[in-house]
Symmetry: C2
Subunit: 335 residues, 2 copies
């Protein structure tokens, strides 16, 4: 199979605020030729994630920053189009950190082989990928949610949030979503089936939380930080668990993050606030994937994708994500 | 035995800021006579606690507020001087919420009988009382500290802090205290034996923490909140546990508590922040008391008391506590 040209999105300059057009540089080249033990993967789907904001900052976080000039780091799913590893023949579907580019060289230990006949490949970046794993382990293991409990999820129409809502419902919880705008709230309540959804752009969040959680919040799954985290802290119940998964409201503001002034309620309610990174649970991913696949086969779990076509539109896709213009998981579909 | 007169400190008005003389009213009366099933206790020691600030606020916390006009709530230790309960004969030493007063009526289920021959009675309000129990369960159960770990304790010269430092040392931890002023730091390092003590009034706390905890903090036992909690969050290691025991820096400021902006490091370090109230562990107090008594008998554990004489000086004792003028547990000694 002959590949005509390859396209890459590279980090051109570290952004100070929100990443914009100047942050990125589009380059083209002939597709590389795999060396011994390598394969060439043609990416079909590229995952656009809030964590990318941290990866392009100057300070190392839980992983090293992307260097200026390098291809932007991203999870991607694609197929092997040239192989010099007999264990990964041409046509094999794989996922891994393959970057924001049309083609990637990879070795066996850099990719995970997936069965694209059972579930469409795009789900490997959503329900069966990092967002799904984050929701599963964050809610069930870090949050320890139990049937009947009240679970509150921020960014409930987002990639992780939509999975948390559905898994919590499957667990038999009362689930209150928080999202911005009527159409997202409609998605969360009607499509996902949440007990209620608070529109943080329209409602008084604190008052709505009080109304929706008369016995207090048992698990708060936080994707946003800021005022909403603080409002949730005011409404936690005895022994509540707050899962800190992200803080998308603060990512452009990392020098002066807003701390939750209501944290002392953790003391009153003997509650905890715990950070998580999904990579720590990698050894248990197969357990989660089996459960999630079963729920999908039973039509109890699905995943909404917000697709943007063309690698050259990755910068725009990322801006849509940070502006909250997506419903569901943002994916760049490679043409 | 005939008691001449009894003295009470009552809540005269809820303070808006720091409690002062106007907050309190001193009253005198004849000692009450116990009814059937009651005893009259003459208090010898009254515990002065940071939590009192919450008890006299208008908003219910984990317990109901003290009402204006009522005797101020306090833990106290004393002896039965008149009894109409055969299980509590005259001379029995007891502790309980007996109030800031010279004499208290109590029933059997309101006091705990203690052996004042083994350990001086005052220790029932410190090492073997709430501060000791808070330190034991906060450090060992909530904090889960393990030998060799780095433990950081704020208000290390205070009632709870001095116990945390000593228990952590007994556990084989590296222990870094934080305290205000050279004499407190001297007490923490020389008398208690801490590995190091940071003077938050003199040192750059963040820089000193970095220097003292090169591999990161494993357990941070927080009594103060504010900037010091935030500095500790910046220095936590992988899987760190932060125990929220109090926030003395914020108690005059409960309407606008300073939230820890560095809380997102919980995510990077997969760490947790958990609130505790010592009362939740009451069923296990005997285990802790046995361990602490053994350590005291072995001279591995002691407790410093900061005594103020006379019930009428309770308001001053409380002010000394909030101004941080005490080294060790603040106790009002009844004359």
């Amino acid at each position: 199979m002959r590949e005509e040209a390859s396209t890459q999105v590279r980090l051109a300059a570290r952004p100070t605020g929100t990443p914009d057009a100047r942050t990125w540089q589009l380059t083209q080249a002939s597709p590389p030729t795999p060396g011994e033990g390598q394969v060439l993967v043609r990416n079909e789907y590229i995952s656009v994630d809030p964590a990318m904001r941290g990866w392009i900052g100057a300070t190392p976080t839980y992983t090293s920053p992307v260097e200026v000039g390098d291809v932007m780091r991203a999870r991607a799913a694609g197929r092997v189009v040239a192989s010099r590893d007999p264990s990964l023949p041409e046509g094999t579907s794989v996922v891994g950190f393959l970057g924001v580019q049309s083609h990637a060289l990879a070795r066996r230990d850099q990719v995970r082989v997936v069965d694209a006949s059972a579930v469409p490949l795009i789900y490997q970046l959503s329900a069966l990928g990092a967002p799904g794993m984050t929701a599963y382990f964050g809610l069930l293991e870090v949050g320890g949610c139990r049937p009947g409990e009240t679970v509150v999820v921020s960014a409930a129409a987002g990639a992780v949030g939509q999975m948390v809502v559905q898994i919590a419902l499957i667990m038999g919880c009362r689930v209150i979503g928080i999202a911005g705008g009527a159409s997202k709230c409609d998605f969360v309540q009607r499509r996902l089936g949440a007990t209620a959804c608070i529109d943080y752009k329209a409602d008084n969040v604190a008052a709505q939380m009080r109304a929706a959680c008369p016995y207090g919040i048992d698990v708060y799954f936080d994707n946003v930080g800021g005022d909403i985290l603080n409002d949730a802290l005011a409404q936690i119940g005895l022994g509540a668990r707050i899962v800190v998964c992200g803080a998308v409201s603060q990512y452009d503001n990392l020098g002066a993050v807003q701390g939750p002034g209501n944290y002392l309620n953790l003391l009153m309610q003997r509650a905890s606030l715990r950070g998580m990174l999904v990579g720590d649970f990698e050894a248990k991913f197969p357990v989660a994937i089996a459960a999630m696949s079963r729920w999908m086969a039973q039509s109890r779990l699905d995943c909404q994708h917000h697709c943007v076509d063309g690698i050259e539109n990755f910068p725009d896709a990322l801006q849509q994500l940070f502006a909250g213009r997506n419903v569901g998981k943002v994916i760049v579909r490679v043409r």
